[in-house]
Structure formats: C-alpha cells, structure tokens
C-alpha cells in the first residue's frame, strides 16, 4: 500500500495515496453526472450506508435524514431512477459536479476516511440551482480495488428548506 499510513501530512496533495483517492472520487462524480447508476452501485460494499443527514451528530439511525440507504434501499433507489416512469427522474435534472478540498482524515488498516467538498450545479426546466456539500467517505481496500462502505453527504442548509432532488450527492 502506498504512503498514506500516517496522518502526519494529511493534506499533502503530492502523496500518491491521495492521488489514488481523488481519482476514485472524481470517477464517481463522473459516473453520477452521466447517470451511469449500475456503475455507481458497483462502487459499493454491501454493508455500508449512503446518508444525507439533516441534523448534527452521527447517530443517523435515530434521526430523520434526507436519505439513509442501506444496500437494499440503494438498489431500489437506482431502480426507481432507471425505470423511467418517475416524473421527477425521467428525465432527471442535468448535473455538473466538482469535488475538491480533499483531506485524508484517517487510515485504519484497510479502511480509509476521506473528507472533501462538493459543488453540484443542477439544470432543469432551464433553471439552474447550486448545492454545496461536505462529503465524508469511508473507503475500503478490497481485492476488487477501492470500494465505498459509507458515504455521508452533508448539505449546506441541510436543516433548512431544500428542494426536491432527482439525483445523488
């Protein structure tokens, strides 16, 4: 494994490990912008959660979230996007997302926790909206390469009024 074992220089962009991680996250962003949802599901391990929380704290299970998807819900959500008769997601909003400000939070054996910032610009009905989120990934190294175990997307104004979303963060 490349040199990301310690937290001594967590924001060192020259670190080979961080390059590998950013490439992974950028690939995911590209997959989401292209709505290539089968490829997105393949990025995950089976045991994790995709969470868009509302309130503070990390006990997501005991609070109302924007979304709290285990593997089954992730799959159902993607089926809904793909089936073509959900009026909000067929066609979905077009999105362009940028992910940046990567910080390697912690490395624990095969588990890597990465934080970064995401901007999503959404276009629908000829109107554009901008969302910003802090992302936290828990990635694991598997025989099949890096996989996502957990992904937490904390939106700015998550506790305030949002709009409906037909895409993922």
């Amino acid at each position: 494994m490349s040199g990301i074992k310690t937290m001594e220089r967590p924001s060192d962009l020259n670190s080979i490990g961080l390059q590998e991680l950013t490439a992974f996250v950028w690939r995911e962003a590209d997959i989401l912008d292209r709505c290539d949802y089968d490829a997105w599901l393949a990025l995950w391990t089976d045991d994790g959660h995709y969470i868009v929380p509302i309130g503070p704290g990390e006990n997501y299970e005991d609070q109302v979230n924007v979304c709290y998807d285990d593997a089954k819900m992730r799959k159902m959500r993607i089926e809904r996007f793909q089936q073509g008769f959900s009026i909000s997601s067929a066609p979905p909003a077009d999105t362009v997302r940028t992910v940046s400000r990567f910080v390697l939070d912690r490395v624990d054996g095969d588990e890597i926790v990465l934080r970064c910032a995401e901007h999503v610009v959404e276009n629908k009905f000829g109107r554009q909206r901008l969302y910003a989120a802090n992302l936290t990934y828990t990635l694991v190294r598997t025989d099949g390469g890096l996989k996502i175990r957990d992904k937490v997307a904390r939106l700015l104004n998550s506790e305030g009024e949002l709009t409906a979303f037909s895409y993922l963060f």
Partner: protein, 425 residues
C-alpha cells in the same frame, strides 16, 4: 353545466367570482395582487397551524414558525402556557431570535438590547433614562397572537374575533382523534422533519393531500418499490375508500379503510414489511397485544385529513404549507413518532418517512415536479378554467358533508368554497 364553455378572466373580477362549484379560474395560481389579498383575508383571519406541542416540550422551549407571511416564535413560558409572539422587536423591528429551535429564559434583541420575557413582555431596556418618566414598558410587549390547541396541535390567529379553534375544526376533530391513535398508546411526538420549497402557488399544495386521483399515477414508482402486500395496501381504488367535505374547507380522504381506527382489528395478520419489527418488539419483551398495537400504529393512519388553510395530517406525518409569494411555497413534512415508545418502531417510522416524504424520497420529488408543472402550465391559456368537477356525478351526502368516490375532487371543492367565503368578506 357544460365544461367546454369557459369565461375569460376579467381582471376586475371580484375574487369570489373566480370560484364556481365545479371550476376555478387561473388567476388563483398566478395573480400577485390576489395573493396579497389572501394573506390579508385568509391567513390573518383564520386558525393557522404553527407547531406541535412536542416541539416545545419544556418551560423555555421555543421554535420559530410562521402565520402567513409573519415570522413568529412559539414558546412555552414558565407557567407551561404556549405563547405565539411575532418575531419583531418593538423598538426598531429587528427579529429577536434567529435560532430555529431551542431553550431559553428570555429573548434579547441583538440590536440595542431590549429584553423580553417568555410571554413577550418587555422586561428591560438599556439606558432607560432617555425615555423619560412616562415610558410605559407594559405597552411595548412583543405582539402576542391568540393561541389555541387541539390534540397538542398548536394553532394561532391574528384575529381576536373568530370562533374558538374547536368550533372551526368541527367534524375534523374526530378524524384528528383517530389520527393520533398512531401513538400506539404513547403520546405522539415530532421526531424530525423534511423541509423544502416548491415554485408553486400555495393552493396547489392545499388541493393535493386529499387528491387521491393522482396517487397511482404520480406515485407509481413508489408503489413499485414496495413488496406485493404493501403494493396492495396502496392500491386504493379497489376498496371502500371515499373523500368527504368536513366543512370550513376541511376534508378527509380515506384511502385504507381498514386503517381508520388503529385500535381495531388488532388480530389481523401482521403485514410482511412489519414482521421484523414485530419480532424485535417481542424480543424486547412486549406482550403480543401490545406488539400488534404498536406495529399497527407504526405505518400511520389510513386516511389523509386536510385542514384549511395550512396543515394536513397524512399517514404518519404532518404536511405544513407556508405561502412565501404567489409562486413560491415552503413545505414541512413533520415526521411523527411515539414519545417513550420502542426505538425500533420510531426508527421504522423515520425510515418510512425518508422513503416517501423527503426531498430525496420516492414520493415527494414526484409530487413537487407535478406541482411545479401546474404552476408552469398556468402561464398558457389563462382563459381556460381549472377543473374541480371530478366525482360530482356520483357524490352523495356523507356524515358531515358531500362524500365522493376516493378519486373525486370533493376535497378541492371544500377548500375553494371556504376560500370563496373568506375572500368575499
């Protein structure tokens, strides 16, 4: 009356002329002057839902809310009474609170430091000498609204002269009572909420909660995400459901008749999707009858109740609307749970809420999309009427008012007749 004869909207028309029994006119959704008039004639003269009592559980607990366009603070004072205060300092109008909810012993204005008690009374003013001897603090309390509550639902009004809340709710009260049975023997408590805005007129939302006609179309993707048994539960039109006008603009749509009274039929088989929860409760040591009662309550009530003008009770949540402008409406979907009830049941309710009601739910984004489509379509053919005539052919007298097929527009007709009455004042 034939439906293809349509009268173009006269700009000079009185608002009440925009509503007939079977149709309403387009300016209802897009006339800014009419919106201002609604804020004055409706939202300033009716009972407006502001919060659930569990959101202000203790002395000093408060939550920000709205009455029409006016920002208010709902706060429980030292005596345990609820006050609804206009969030505006009596000095130079600054908001005295921008924290959405919390606990406090007083409110202090950040601008010049005027301090108010939990009942809105002006307590102290920095350097009072410059106001002289006859400065009357008692006359400078925060503006306090008339408050009343039913089943812990708190309503406020700017009008001192309207009827008591219980009278205004009328026959809707018995449906509220039934709805609250989803506490499963525990008090009903707010667990959290989803909030979002939609570019639409508030009445498009007002119409929606007892419009079951849209459900199988708009929510097809939600229904298909359920197991077969749950899919059958949400297949409304094959059953004995109905929609009924309850007077004063209120209406109820009974979608799942077997779930009207959650205390009944406790011996019915436990649905597949609740099997795991039932087992978890048994494992926790709950006796079988209690397990069944909690499980049955967990999915929520089998009907939607629409209370004019701003709150609906639906399945296991409140839907609260707030008019922002003629073409913008804010919505709260308030998730309800069992106060002191088993964590497993409340967790399941939160997951069900996320599944349908949130901005990323399998239901709400589709609702939001069609609501927005109505607003956008309103720009075309302004002279065309908006039809609310569905189900008039076989409407019958119900217990409290006209009752129609579940897919009938009886609920909309109820809302618009109330709208018309209030706008004619």
């Amino acid at each position: 009356m034939s439906l293809d004869h349509s009268q173009p909207h006269q700009c000079q028309a009185r608002p009440q002329d925009l509503v007939e029994h079977d149709r309403v006119q387009t300016p209802l959704y897009e006339d800014a002057a009419l919106f201002d008039e609604e804020m004055e004639k409706i939202f300033a003269h009716t009972w407006v839902f502001v919060a659930h009592g569990s959101e202000v559980p203790e002395k000093g607990s408060f939550i920000l809310s709205w009455v029409g366009l006016q920002p208010v603070i709902v706060v429980r004072d030292r005596k345990g009474d609820i006050n609804v205060l206009v969030n505006r300092c009596r000095h130079r109008a600054a908001t005295v609170c921008e924290v959405k909810k919390g606990k406090t012993s007083s409110f202090q204005c950040p601008y010049h430091g005027w301090g108010y008690g939990l009942d809105g009374s002006l307590r102290g003013v920095p350097y009072p000498e410059q106001y002289g001897e006859d400065f009357d603090k008692a006359a400078l309390s925060m503006k306090r609204l008339r408050v009343d509550s039913y089943q812990n639902m708190i309503f406020a009004t700017l009008d001192e002269s309207i009827e008591p809340l219980a009278e205004f709710l009328g026959p809707a009260k018995k449906w509220i009572d039934l709805f609250m049975k989803q506490g499963g023997g525990y008090p009903v408590k707010v667990l959290g909420e989803h909030q979002f805005t939609v570019p639409m007129n508030w009445k498009i939302q007002l119409e929606n909660t007892t419009d079951a006609y849209h459900f199988p179309v708009v929510h097809k993707s939600f229904i298909q995400s359920l197991d077969k048994e749950a899919e059958a539960t949400f297949n409304f039109f094959d059953k004995a459901g109905f929609v009924e006008d309850l007077g004063n603009g209120h209406s109820v749509a009974v979608m799942i008749p077997e779930l009207i009274d959650l205390d009944e039929n406790l011996d019915d088989p436990i649905p597949e999707r609740f099997a795991e929860l039932a087992q978890a409760l048994r494992d926790e040591g709950f006796e079988e009858q209690k397990v069944r009662k909690i499980v049955r309550a967990t999915g929520g009530a089998g009907f939607n109740l629409n209370l004019f003008p701003n709150v609906s009770l639906s399945l296991a949540f409140f839907r609260v609307l707030r008019p922002v402008s003629v073409k913008e409406t804010a919505i709260r979907h308030v998730c309800l749970g069992m106060d002191g009830g088993p964590a497993a049941a409340n967790r399941m309710r939160m997951r069900l809420q996320e599944h349908f009601q949130g901005p990323m739910g399998f239901g709400t984004p589709d609702d939001a999309e069609v609501w927005e489509r109505v607003q956008r379509g309103t720009l075309g053919g302004k002279e065309l009427p908006i039809l609310v005539n569905r189900g008039l052919v076989d409407e019958v007298p119900g217990v409290d008012g006209p009752r129609g097929h579940l897919s009938a527009e009886t609920g909309m007709r109820a809302s618009y007749q109330m709208w018309k009455r209030m706008m004619a004042q």
